[in-house]
Structure formats: C-alpha cells, structure tokens
Symmetry: C2
Subunit: 339 residues, 2 copies
C-alpha cells in the first residue's frame, strides 16, 4: 500500500523496492544502495540511453493519465534501444516531482512504467528522486545488451538502399489531436459513440501507450537485415534527416507509399502532414541493401517500403503526380520550438 | 567555438561531440546515434547511478558559477560510485534547459563537467536535451566497473566495527554559508581580504568543486578494508542512519572525534551542526571490522575514526562530557523539505 504521503526519502525508497522483483538474472544489487550493480553477458556490448519526459513539453497531465506518463517515459529510451537492436535489461528512474504531485499520481506513474518494464524484461534498479517548485521532470535511463559489432547504427545507409518504416506513421500525433479535442484526463471517460470507432481507439492508444519495437530491432540486427536504423521519435522528416546525415546520403520518399494514419474526419493533407512530421510513433525507420528480400511483416509489425536512398544529399518528397519537393525537417526540435 | 545560439538539436549535438574525445578504450559508439555502446571488462560488474541537480534545489545560479554546476552534477554520481569502490567509466547527461539559459552558460557548464570527467577518466557518451519553461534540471548518469563481489555495500556493518569518515565534515555547507554571505556569482570577484584566508578558500572550494573520493573507495574495496560504505551527500546524521538501517545496527558517534570545519568566525555549536547535518561533502563514511589496522590517510585523504557500531539500533551522539543524545537525521530530505 502507498502511504497517504511519503514522509521521507527512505520511506519512498522502501515503497519503491516493494514494487520491483528482487531476484533477477544478472542483477547483483538493486534499489537501496549508493548505486546498482549488474552483470553483462560475455562478448556483449552495453547499450546506454537516457531520455527525459517533461510536463507540458512531452506530456500534459490533462491529457495523459499517470500510467501513460510512466509508460511513455520508459517507452522513449526503450525505443532507442530497439533502434540499436539491443535487448533491454535494466532501468534507472530520476524523478523530479512538484511538491503538489499527489502520491496517487506517483503510484500510478510507477504502475504504468513497471507494467511496460515487465513486458520487456526490464528491471528497475535505482535512480534518484527530488522535489522542486516546477513541472514534473522524469529522466529514464535504460541499459541493454547487444552482440559485439551487431548494433544497428544510423550511419550505414548506401545509395540504392530501400527505406522502410514499421507500422503506421502519424498515429500517435493523431491520437494527441483526438485527446485534445476531447480534453479528457482518462480514456475511460470518453463518449460511448467513440468507443465503437476502432480507429479512434488505435490512435489514442498509440499516443498514450506506444509500443517500442524492441523485437523488430533485434530481428533486424540478428538477421543482418538493416544497413542503418533510427527510431521515429521526432517525426519522419526529422529522423530521416538524422539517418541521412549520419550516413552521408540523401533520400527520396514517395508520398503514395507512406502508411498514413486512419481517415476519421481528416482530409488527406492533414493525414499526410501527421505522417511526415508527427512525432512519438516510436516505430523504426531503417534502410535495406538493394536486392535483399524483406517480409511484409517482422516481429508482428507490418513493414512498408517508403522510398530509396540517393547519393545526392537532398531529401525529397515525390508527390503522387511525380512532382518533387524538399522534405524539410518539421518534427519537434527543442531548440527551435521554445526559443 | 560555441554558436551564439543553438538553432537545432542537431547543431547542439555536433557542438557537444567536438568537446569529447572520440577514441577511448572500451567505447564502441559515443554521442550521436540512438544510444551509446560500451564494453565491460571480463569478470566485472557494471555499476549504475543517476543523480539530479536542480536549480534552486541543488544549486543556485547566483552562488554557483556554471562550471561549478557542471562539476557538481558529475561529482554527485561519481561520489556514489566511489562509495561502491567502482572505477567510473562513462557518463550520460540529460539536460532540461530553460529557454532563457544563455549558450555561454551551457558552454561553461560542460567545461566544468568535462574537466572533472577527464580528471576521473570518465567519457561522456550521450544523454538527452530539452527546453522547458522552468528552472534548469540536470540528470547525470555514470557507469563504472567493479570486480565481481568486490563492491562496497551499505549493509555489512557489524557491532564492534569502527566508524570512519574521510576528510572534514561540514566543509561544503560552511562554503555555501560563506557564499550566501557574499552573494557572489563567481569566486573570482570576492574581496581581496578574503582571498588571503585559506580556510575561506578551502570551504568555498569544497562547495563549488567537491572532489569525489573514487581513489579512496577503490582502495577500500581492493584492500577489503571496509565492512560497509556510503557517501556523505545528505549529511552525516542522515547518511549514517542509511548505513545503520541497511546493516541492521546502531551507532555511537563521539563529538570530540568529529573533524569539524575550520573556525572562521563561527562558534563551536554552529560548526558541530554543520559537521553533523551539512550535506554535499561527498566524503566517504565507512565501517572497519574490529582489530583491522587503518592508516591515518588513504589515497591522499585523511581518515578519522568518529565512533563505533552497536547492536542496539539507536544512533547516539556522545558529547564531550559523556552525555548521550539521539542523533536525529537532520540532513536534506526532499520529502521533508518541500512538503
């Protein structure tokens, strides 16, 4: 049981320890000491990533229930590990709470985070907690393992490679739009008429509880399928640019090949913009050498070929009528958006 | 050179990569991909710790110059690794900046952090950056290595063990008091008369640029000297309680044995309170089995025996006249202080 109020850090740590399994393979020392100690398999590299979730930047307490915030906080770095082809193992959570955060919020936050952790075999081993007079800031660190020299990098794409994405594009951004229209705290309270629309549910689910593509990443790594990989967190137009810049290449994306989000009441133009620039899909974007055969789905996720890598460093969108235009990065960029 | 303003995350990442050495033993993939990949030595455990530094909680921009904030942000988790006896290796930095943070502040912050990193053989391999409308929040994650089963835990103290601290107690808290009296942004601007007082300089230095006791921790681990270890980040009264609770024991601390901070103009009572409850010293507190010989200094840090572990779970302060009183934890506790 959660106390009505945490009276000390020690009490918080004791509560947190009870939420986490103690005996886990590879875990030598978990929550409660100065630091955690874990084992690494032989001939494996350790993959490390930290990702922040900030109130009113990455989530909004009016739209995202606390379990979604916990889920998303862990999903972000898990998605990065998926893009490396790594098997996630351990997590640290640094949590800066506002003094007004109710303990019930903290409990549901951890419930959401730990449910996703359990699903992906990730063990929470430590972190930090603090109180401040400001929005909630969460930093989740995930460690994973990958066979030496088997990690999927952003930098291996070559001219002629095909460009693939997993799942649908712009679904999470559509979900955010739908939630804003509703202004609901919880999906449980939405209107009856909408419960019956599977597209609504799918999009809102993609926003609140996105599923990192760890299995797909592992299959791409083990099968030596992808020449370059990145996760789609900032939007296709931004993340494709990251991959192309790291690889020293350009790309042409065909509008007609893009897996757009469901129609609902939105015009095609809006759905295209969501697919190109909407972030938080946490799907994988990867390139495959010419001539390599790719199944239509892998790890239960559909794969879509959306274009080709080119030597010229331009990144172009080819419209249905054949006209080309520059695909400018218009995904979320912290340095552009708040300054 | 730092641009006048970072125009995008990509520009920030390019700048940051240039600040960090690229070729480092054990580093397979550093800043710039979805995640970092590092190696671990055979038969070594990976030690993991994250620690936050929050503006107006852990630091104050009127008192701490940006290089001090960078130094302290890394010193905090390094101190935890010292308390595990681990050799620090890699760091991630998650940085939530206010949109008003000037680029010059960011540059000096990293200069301070990377100077300490270089001194301790730590390589920055990644992290995250975001902008928000709030105080600056920094989360630094450090990974280290320790020989399997050689880590120093909080939980091994036994009745009869001697309690030791390294260095002086309350020095950083005294330094903070002196800085507040001055209200200076930078130590460079302090008055001439004080520059000549070595105690002033020592205390202010301990506050602005504390030195984590990694070498001492390693020697305690390798020499199998300490039965339990914790770092002094929250203050002796709080951290000794953590160690005793983890070990299931109590303690008696002798007032006359405490290495008090320098006199300056303060009465003994104030200096005693700083030594007992002042945080941020980042010294080590450890216990040593009865009969084991301890040198007066180790790794260039003086060691002071301050008391004894007892079976009874009370934690007592024994005054110079022999009177005993309960040593209540009065160090910083986030759940007590902001609620």
């Amino acid at each position: 049981m959660l106390p009505d109020k945490f009276r000390s850090e020690a009490e918080f740590v004791r509560w947190l320890r009870k939420q986490v399994p103690g005996k886990v393979s590879g875990l030598r020392l978990g929550i409660g000491d100065d630091a955690a100690v874990v084992d690494v398999g032989p001939q494996r590299g350790v993959v490390l990533k930290s990702d922040m979730c900030i109130e009113n930047v990455h989530f909004n307490r009016r739209l995202h229930p606390p379990s979604s915030v916990g889920h998303r906080s862990l999903a972000r770095p898990l998605s990065d590990l998926a893009a490396m082809g790594a098997v996630p193992r351990f997590a640290l959570v640094s949590l800066a709470l506002s003094k007004r955060t109710p303990p019930g919020w903290v409990k549901e936050f951890y419930a959401g985070l730990l449910a996703l952790a359990m699903k992906f075999g990730v063990t929470l081993v430590g972190g930090d907690v603090a109180m401040m007079r400001a929005p909630i800031v969460i930093d989740v660190i995930v460690t994973g393992e990958v066979a030496l020299d088997a990690e999927l990098r952003r930098s291996g794409a070559k001219p002629g490679d095909s460009i693939f994405v997993s799942g649908e594009l712009g679904l999470a951004a559509l979900g955010l739009r739908l939630l804003r229209l509703q202004g609901h705290v919880s999906t449980r309270h939405r209107r009856r008429s909408e419960r019956s629309d599977p597209s609504w549910v799918t999009a809102v689910q993609a926003q609140l509880y996105p599923e990192p593509r760890c299995k797909l990443g592992r299959l791409l790594s083990v099968g030596n399928v992808a020449s370059a990989t990145i996760d789609l967190s900032d939007g296709l137009s931004t993340d494709l640019r990251h991959l192309c810049e790291a690889s020293g290449v350009g790309a042409r994306v065909s509008e007609e090949l893009l897996p757009l989000p469901p129609r609902l009441e939105y015009p095609r133009r809006t759905r295209l913009a969501l697919a190109l620039h909407g972030g938080e899909d946490y799907q994988l974007l990867f390139t495959v050498p010419r001539g390599k055969e790719i199944p239509t789905s892998l790890g239960n996720v559909p794969l879509h070929r959306i274009g080709t890598i080119h030597k010229s460093k331009e990144i172009l969108l080819v419209a249905n009528d054949g006209r080309r235009s520059a695909l400018a990065p218009a995904g979320y960029d912290h340095f552009r958006h708040l300054t």
